[in-house]
Symmetry: C2
Subunit: 156 residues, 2 copies
DNA sequence: GTGCGACCTGAAGTCAGCTTCAGGTCAAGG
DNA sequence: CCTTGACCTGAAGCTGACTTCAGGTCGCAC
């Protein structure tokens, strides 16, 4: 636990692949914490690499940072997260992935039927009006439908 | 083809579910065209509803507006697009959906193996480092990995 | 001809998830 | 002690897909 166990931001950049700007941003957003040298430079514990791996995995499957922060906040404070902790977190995303896949498959089937009829009718077509998410969702970019972007669960 | 065949923006809003602001935006962006009354108000042809249905379907499966404009631009000028036209366009997205599903399934399998090992290791884990998309992709929100957001094809 | 709801425009705001920049400070090797 | 590269901060910028707003105009019914 002495100084040699701590990583500079440059080392974390090289080992994680995240740019320094992203690391600083994640820290501001409360996903990461750091210690500082007397001069104010960041020093990271090695466990940050695991957190970053988790963050990347979550982002890859489309989970927003809010939710990632939420999940990471449930890790036991103070001790290095272990295998069981990560497994528990990973399992939650697994269900999410299954849902996404199911949603896409449903759309593909809808598209198949549309290819059959050539319609894309507003009333009849599953694809052009999938269960009335016709109402607005507020401003901002929405690349993917709400399935991927739901609110963080506030459960236990 | 007389005036009674044309729709006001309010009617298009009611029939398509898109807010007027989005319709005006799509027009500015070249996805839709309109005629105008002498006083400058928009009048839409009924075929716009079909275009909008297509736009919604494309957006639902994660296609960006650039690409949608691209696809719509290939519709034959001047005549109302028919069943075959829409079928051709729809078929293109079908392949896209298949790819997305495959990508997600690959990730799910990666996640399964990670649950097995509890690792999320930066080097070994497919999920945390899927084929080196570790390099930056420039600014802007990236909810979903590049699979969904590729450049419009410039082919025939 | 008048009232009023539907419509118009351009500019600015929003949101996520970062990046970029300017203008400094730290720390380690020589 | 000095240099040089790594690091710091806060503010501003960017992308995509829109929305919101202010301040004015249309068009139709009465």
């Amino acid at each position: 636990m002495d100084a040699h166990d701590l990583l500079t931001i440059g080392e974390v950049v090289r080992r994680s692949g995240f740019p320094a700007s992203a690391l600083r941003y994640y820290e501001r957003e409360g996903l990461l914490s750091t210690t500082r040298t007397s001069g104010g430079q960041r020093r990271y514990e090695r466990s940050v690499l695991r957190r970053l791996a988790f963050i990347r995995a979550a982002r890859t499957i489309g989970v927003g940072l809010d939710e990632v922060r939420d999940a990471l906040a449930r890790l036991p404070d103070g001790r290095t997260p272990n295998k069981a902790d990560w497994t528990r977190l990973s399992r939650a995303w697994r269900g999410r992935l299954d849902e996404q896949i199911a949603a896409l498959e449903a759309m593909r089937d809808g598209l198949d039927s549309c290819i059959g009829c050539g319609c894309l009718s507003l009333q009849r077509c599953k694809l052009s009006n999938p269960e009335d998410w016709i109402a607005s969702r507020g401003p901002g970019a929405q690349i993917f439908p709400p399935l991927l972007r739901r609110a963080p669960t506030d459960g236990p």
